[in-house]
C-alpha cells in the first residue's frame, strides 16, 4: 500500500512538475509573444538580424496550439499523453541516463497500450449488388411457395378421393395436365449438353431462366416454351425465350384481329382492349414477373385451372400483366404508308409461328416482341449492325431500316431461327394430319373471316420410330435437316407444305444465301427425301463457298459417348447438339451473319446511285478534322448534294435521319 501511495505521490509530484514546467514555458512564451508582437512590425529586420534574436524567435510557438497538435491523434493515446507517460516513468524510476535510453522507455510504454489500430478485421464494405441477389432470391422463394401450394392441393385431392388405385392414375393425369400441354424445354438437361458443346449457360443464368419458363407454363397461354439463346449488345445482353401460343390463345388472338379489321367498331370490348394495347405499343410490352410473383392470387387462379376449367376469363385475367399487342397485325397495315409492303404473317404461321420474349436482366420483366413484318426482314438483310441492348433505340443504318431496335431484333431472330434451327434427319416429322388446315387458314386469312379451326400449320412432331444416328454420321452435315421453313426474298416463309417442297427447293430454299445465288446449285442434290423437312444442311454454304456447318465431337478422346455438335459458320454462335435421341439448339452470339465484303458491295451500289449519306459515314470514319477542314468538307458535301440532287422525296419526310440532316443544310443555304 505504501508503495502504491508513494507511486501515486510521485506521480502527483511529477504531474505537478510537468504542469509547472508547462506553466513556465507558457509564461515564457507569452512573454515572448508580447515581445514578438511588439516587434512584429519589424519582422523583416528581425529575420535578417543576428543569431540571438533568431533564437528568441524560435520560442515563438503558441504552446496551446502545440499541445492541441500533439493531442490531435484520435483514440485514447496521442503524442501528448505518450510523452506524459514517458516522463512519468522516468520520474518514477529515476534512471541514470534517461536520454540514452529514451527510445527504450518510449517502446516500453508503448507496449503497454492496447493496440487498437492493429486490427485486421476489415470493415465489410463489398461492392456486390445485393439488390440483384435479393430479386433472384425472391423469384426462388415464390417458386417454392407455388410448389408447396400445388403439393398441398395434390395432397388434399388425395385425401378426398378414397380409391387409391384409380386415384393415383387420375391424380397423375390432373397434375400433369398443364405439363402435358406445355412442352417446356428441360433446360437443366439440355444445358449439360450445351456445356459440353462449349457454349451453354452458367448455373445462375440457367436457374433463373428455368424458373421463368416454369412460371410461364402457369399462364396456360403457350404450347411450348424453350430458351432461344442470347444476343449480345454493346450495352446490354438480350436473353430470349421462344414460345408457341397454345391453340386457345391463338384463336382468341385471331378473333380479335379479324373482328377488328373487319368492322372496327363492332365490339366495344375488343376495341377498348386494342386502344389499351396501342397506348402500350409505344412503350414496349412488359411482363413484370416481379409483380406476377408477388400477386399470389393469380397463381391460385392458375391452380384452379388445374382442375380443368377452361375459362375464358382466366385468359383475360392474365392480360393485366401480359399486355400483348393483339392488334399489331392490323395496326401495322395503316402505319406502313406504301402499299408494296407485305402484311405480316399471321400469328402461328411461318416466321411468326413463335413469339419471343426478351429481357436484359433475368430477374426483371420480360418483354414481348411484336410479330415480325416481312419488310423488316428484307431490310435487316441489307444492314449489319450491332445491337445496343436498348429495345427502343432507333436504328441509324444506311440502307434504312424502318423501325427501332426491337423490330430489328425480331427480324434477326426470325432470320436466325429460320436458318439455324436444325435437327438430325428423321428425328422429327411433319404432322400430316393438320396439313390441310394450313391452306384453309391462308384462304380464310385473305377473306378476313373468322378462324376457329385448329392451327397447327406444318407442325413438327417427334418421330417415334426413329433410331439414333451414330456419332460418326452426326458429324456429317448431310444427316442434319432444317426444322424451320426458309424465309424468301420477300421476307415471308414459303407457305408450302411438304408436298410442294421439292418444287420450292430450287427456288426459295436457302434464300438466306441469296446473295451468292449464282454459286448455288440445289437441283442436283439427291437428298431431297421425305426426311429433309425444310432442306438438308448439306445445301448450306457459307461465304467462302465452304460448308455452312461444321460437325464436331465434344470430346475427341471418347467418341462413342460424346455429344455431336453442329456449328453454324453462317451465323457464328448458332449451334445444335445431339446425343442419342436428345437434340437441341441454341444461339449465343452477336446476332450478325458472317459475311465478308457483303456490306461493301451493297454500299458501293448505293453510292453509285448517289448516296446522300456518304459524307456522314465519312465523318464516322475519319479522325476529327480541324474546324477549317470541317467547314470545307461541309461545303464540299453541300455542293455535291446539289449536284446529285439528293434522294427520292419519300425519304425526306420519314424518319431517315441521315437524309434529314443533309436536307436541312441544303435548304438553309
Amino acid at each position: 500500500m505504501e508503495i502504491v501511495k508513494s507511486i501515486l505521490d510521485t506521480k502527483k509530484i511529477s504531474l505537478k512538475e510537468i504542469k509547472d514546467n508547462v506553466q513556465t514555458t507558457e509564461i515564457i512564451s507569452s512573454h515572448n509573444r508580447s515581445k514578438v508582437s511588439s516587434q512584429s512590425a519589424q519582422f523583416k529586420s528581425l529575420f535578417t538580424c543576428g543569431e540571438p534574436r533568431l533564437k528568441e524567435f524560435q520560442y515563438d510557438i503558441n504552446i496551446n496550439y502545440a499541445i492541441a497538435l500533439l493531442k490531435k491523434e484520435d483514440g485514447n493515446v496521442n503524442v501528448y499523453s505518450h510523452l506524459q507517460d514517458i516522463l512519468d516513468k522516468i520520474l518514477l524510476e529515476r534512471p541514470k541516463n534517461p536520454l540514452k535510453n529514451f527510445e527504450k522507455y518510449s517502446m516500453m510504454v508503448k507496449r503497454t497500450y492496447i493496440h487498437n489500430e492493429a486490427n485486421f478485421e476489415r470493415v465489410f464494405v463489398d461492392n456486390i449488388n445485393r439488390n440483384y441477389c435479393f430479386k433472384s432470391l425472391q423469384m426462388h422463394k415464390c417458386a417454392m411457395k407455388k410448389q408447396l401450394e400445388q403439393q398441398k392441393q395434390y395432397n388434399n385431392h388425395k385425401i378426398n378421393i378414397r380409391k387409391p388405385e384409380i386415384d393415383q392414375h387420375e391424380e397423375k393425369k390432373s397434375m400433369n395436365n398443364i405439363n402435358d400441354i406445355v412442352q417446356v424445354q428441360n433446360l437443366c438437361e439440355v444445358n449439360y449438353m450445351f456445356n459440353k458443346a462449349g457454349y451453354g449457360l452458367p448455373m445462375d443464368e440457367a436457374a433463373l431462366i428455368y424458373l421463368t419458363m416454369n412460371e410461364m407454363t402457369q399462364l396456360n397461354k403457350f404450347e411450348s416454351i424453350r430458351f432461344w439463346g442470347k444476343i449480345f449488345g454493346i450495352k446490354k445482353m438480350y436473353y430470349i425465350i421462344e414460345c408457341k401460343w397454345s391453340d386457345a390463345e391463338l384463336e382468341r388472338k385471331l378473333m380479335t384481329v379479324n373482328s377488328v379489321s373487319h368492322n372496327s367498331k363492332s365490339s366495344k370490348h375488343i376495341d377498348n382492349e386494342i386502344i389499351y394495347d396501342n397506348s402500350l405499343q409505344q412503350e414496349s410490352k412488359l411482363i413484370d414477373t416481379d409483380n406476377a410473383l408477388n400477386t399470389e392470387n393469380e397463381f391460385e387462379s392458375a391452380a384452379s385451372y388445374i382442375d380443368g376449367e377452361m375459362a375464358e376469363n382466366s385468359i383475360n385475367h392474365y392480360d393485366s400483366w401480359i399486355s400483348l399487342n393483339d392488334s399489331d397485325s392490323c395496326t401495322a397495315i395503316p402505319r406502313s404508308s406504301s402499299k408494296t409492303l407485305l402484311p405480316p404473317e399471321m400469328f402461328g404461321v411461318g416466321a411468326n409461328k413463335n413469339v419471343y420474349f426478351v429481357t436484359n436482366k433475368l430477374n426483371t420483366k420480360w418483354i414481348e416482341l411484336e410479330s415480325v413484318k416481312p419488310h423488316h426482314i428484307v431490310e435487316a438483310r441489307k444492314i449489319k449492325r450491332y445491337f445496343t441492348g436498348k429495345l427502343k433505340n432507333p436504328i441509324n443504318s444506311f440502307p434504312k431500316f424502318d423501325g427501332s431496335e426491337n423490330d430489328y431484333l425480331r427480324a434477326q431472330i426470325a432470320r436466325i431461327s429460320s436458318s439455324t434451327q436444325i435437327c438430325p434427319r428423321g428425328y422429327y416429322i411433319i404432322d400430316e394430319k393438320d396439313k390441310a388446315d394450313l391452306s384453309r387458314i391462308s384462304d380464310k386469312r385473305s377473306t378476313n373471316s373468322f378462324i376457329s379451326t385448329k392451327k397447327k400449320s406444318g407442325d413438327l412432331i417427334f418421330n417415334k420410330n426413329t433410331k439414333p444416328i451414330s456419332n460418326n454420321n452426326l458429324m456429317n452435315v448431310n444427316y442434319w435437316v432444317h426444322k424451320n421453313p426458309h424465309i424468301d426474298i420477300n421476307g415471308v416463309t414459303c407457305k408450302l407444305g411438304f408436298s410442294n417442297l421439292s418444287y420450292s427447293k430450287q427456288k426459295e430454299e436457302n434464300s438466306e444465301e441469296f446473295e451468292e445465288e449464282d454459286n448455288l446449285s440445289y437441283g442436283e442434290n439427291i437428298l431431297n427425301s421425305k426426311g429433309d423437312l425444310y432442306g438438308n444442311l448439306g445445301n448450306d454454304i457459307s461465304v467462302d463457298n465452304t460448308s455452312g456447318w461444321k460437325g464436331v465431337l465434344c470430346s475427341p478422346f471418347d467418341p462413342r459417348y460424346s455429344q455431336a455438335i453442329m456449328k453454324s459458320h453462317v451465323w457464328p454462335g448458332a449451334f445444335a447438339v445431339a446425343y442419342n435421341l436428345q437434340t437441341d439448339y441454341m444461339y449465343i452470339g452477336w446476332g450478325q451473319k458472317h459475311d465478308s465484303n457483303m456490306l461493301y458491295t451493297i454500299f458501293m451500289d448505293e453510292i453509285k446511285m448517289g448516296n446522300p449519306t456518304r459524307d456522314d459515314t465519312f465523318t464516322v470514319e475519319f479522325e476529327e478534322f480541324t474546324k477549317k477542314q470541317k467547314m470545307e468538307r461541309e461545303k464540299y458535301g453541300l455542293r455535291k448534294n446539289k449536284k446529285y440532287n439528293p434522294f427520292p422525296l419519300q425519304f425526306n419526310r420519314t424518319k431517315y435521319k441521315g437524309g434529314e440532316k443533309v436536307i436541312t443544310y441544303y435548304t438553309y443555304e
Binding site: N127, I128, N129, Y132, N195, K196, G198, Y199, G200, L201, P202, D204, E205, K230, F232, G233, I234, K235, K236, M237, L362, I383, K384, R385, Y386, F398, S542, V543, D544, T546, K550, V552, C554, S555, P556, F557, D558, S562, H569, P572, I588, G589, Q592, S596, N597, L599, Y600, F603, M604, I607, R614, T617, F618, V620, E621, F622, E623, F625, Q629, R633
Partner: protein, 326 residues
Amino acid sequence: MDVKVFHCLIDALKTAGCCLYKDSIPILYNSLIKLQSENHFHSVYLWGHIETSSIDYYVAYGHQKDPIGDRTFFYTQDMLEWDIMPTDWSTLETDMVRKIKNKFYGDPRHVEIIGNSNKKSHETTEHPIAQNVELKFDEEGGEEEIININNLTYDDVVSVTAETDEIMETESALIGNPKLKHSIKEEDRLAITVQMIENESHIVPRGFFYKLPNGNITKAPYFKGLDHSEIGNEKNFLHVSQQYCQPKGLKNDVRPDYNGSIDFLQSIDKDVPKGCWASRLFSNRYFIIHNLLWPGAVYVQDMNTGMHGYFYSGYGLKNLDLPFMI
C-alpha cells in the same frame, strides 16, 4: 488468361460467349502445365481458340521473366502437343494476311493462294472510297509499319492509296510466278493473325503490370483487380502489345493520377474507331469487355475475386464493317 485462374474463369468465359468444350478443359490445363515445366516458363497463358473449317487451333503463350517482352507463342490442334509459332515473316505476308477474308482451313500446312490480287486493286481503283475505308483499318492492323492514323487527314489517306496501288502493280509486274508469291502457309497466317489480334486487342487492367526502377516489368504481386468504380473508365485498361510500350511522351493528356510505374502502357480510350470496346457487367458478377474490331476477343474479370484474363475465341477475322455497325 493465366492457366492458374483458368478453372475459375470458365463461367465468366461462358457468359462472354466464348466457346470452350467442357471436355477439353482438363486436357488443356494439363498440357499447358506440362508446357510450362518443359520450357521453364514463369507462367503460361491460354491465349485463345481459333475456329477453323475442320480442327480448331488453340493458342497459348508463356514468358520467362519479362511478361511483355519475351513471350513465346504456341499453337496446337490436338491439345496434347504444343508447337512453337513462327516468329519472323515478311511485310508481304502481313499484307497478304490482311487480304484474306475467309476462315482458317484447319491445317497448318495448308497453303492459301491469293489469286485475284490484281483484280482487287482494279476494283479498288474503281471505288476509291472503299479503298480508303479498307486501308485505314489495314494499316492500323499492321505491326511492322505503324502509321499513326491520328495524323492522317483525308488527303493523306488518298495519297497512301495511290502509292499502294503503284506498289501492287509493280509487284505483280515483277513477280515471275505469281502463285508462289501470292501464297502463304496457314501456319504463318496463323502466327501473323495472332500477333495482330494480340497487338490490338490484348488488354490488361491498369496496375497489373508494374515497372521497376531498373526497367524490368513484373506483375504487381498485390494487384487485386479493378473495382466497381474503376471499370467504367476505359483509361484503366491498357494495351499489352510491344508497340504501345513506349512511354507516350508527356503530353497534356496525361491522366491526373499518373504513376510512372503503372502507366507505361497505352490506354485503350484512344483506339479507333471510337466505341470498338464494349464493356458490360454480366449477371451481377462478371465484367466483360468485348473487342468489336476483332470479334471474339474478350477481357473478363470476376468482380468478386478480382481474377481476370484475356481470351480470344473466334475465326481470326477482323470486322471491317465495324464503323457501320455501331
